[in-house]
Amino acid sequence: MKVDQTKPLEYSTEQNNLNILGFWMFLGAEIMLFATLFASYFTLEGWTGSGPSGSEIFEITPVIFETFILLTSSFTIGLGVHAMRLMNKKATITFFSITLLLGLAFVGFEVVEFFTYIEEGAALQTSAFTSILLSTLGTHGAHVTFGLFWGLFILIQIKKRGLTPETANKSFIFSLYWHFLDVVWIFIFSFVYLKGMM
């Protein structure tokens, strides 16, 4: 395996470059996946049947918390990748751990939010609106939850094996995933919550 010393570790081998490019392709497909969810959401948001509408169940406070938590976690994972490029293993582990804890807090807020919706009579099967709302939020939330486990396993690998071309590559790809989820959340925040409460 040829290792190019002039490049950051995550780009240092041909295989690493291909892995990163391949992951960008995957993110392209993910953009389209979320686009279909948004398209269905905008189509069905008015079909509330006998259930509540968005403006009746959305609450601004948890949404603000969720947004700032996810934005901050996107920043800390960016710092983690930067620390990785400085070959500072300890700082990399610290920043990745903070990111995962913030991710956990986000999922916590979302779980509470879902329980509140169900208590208020907005379950998955209540109306076309609640179905697509919970499907859209749930798809994003499931991505974040999956990311928590993925990130945790990478963290363990960095701890055990140190910063190698392989672990750096995996961490960088994970950071792409995490930033992407933040971007999706920005669109949910703007066009589901804020638009619904306007």
Binding site: N17, L21, F38, F75, L79, A83, H179, L194, M198
Partner: protein
Amino acid sequence: MKELFPRKQVMGFVFSLVLTIVALLVYFLDMSFAVGMTVLLLTAFTQAGLQLIVFMHAGESEDKGTIYLNIYYGVIIALLTVFGTLLAMIWGYV
């Protein structure tokens, strides 16, 4: 310690917080739907671009051209899906 907080990323974070606060004004101030949607579209897409360039390092690798082409393709399909659906399912009937 200081080298762990690069200026570019700290500024990017501050800017993303500002964009979020501007978006929140849509809720806290009284705005017409059209003005509110314009603000949200501007802040959301700026925020997405910011993440892509500052945090995802989209322009750094040798495959920059392919990566951008792939993202543009994904975004174009996304916009066609969303606005095409709106046209066919909602706007076409008003």
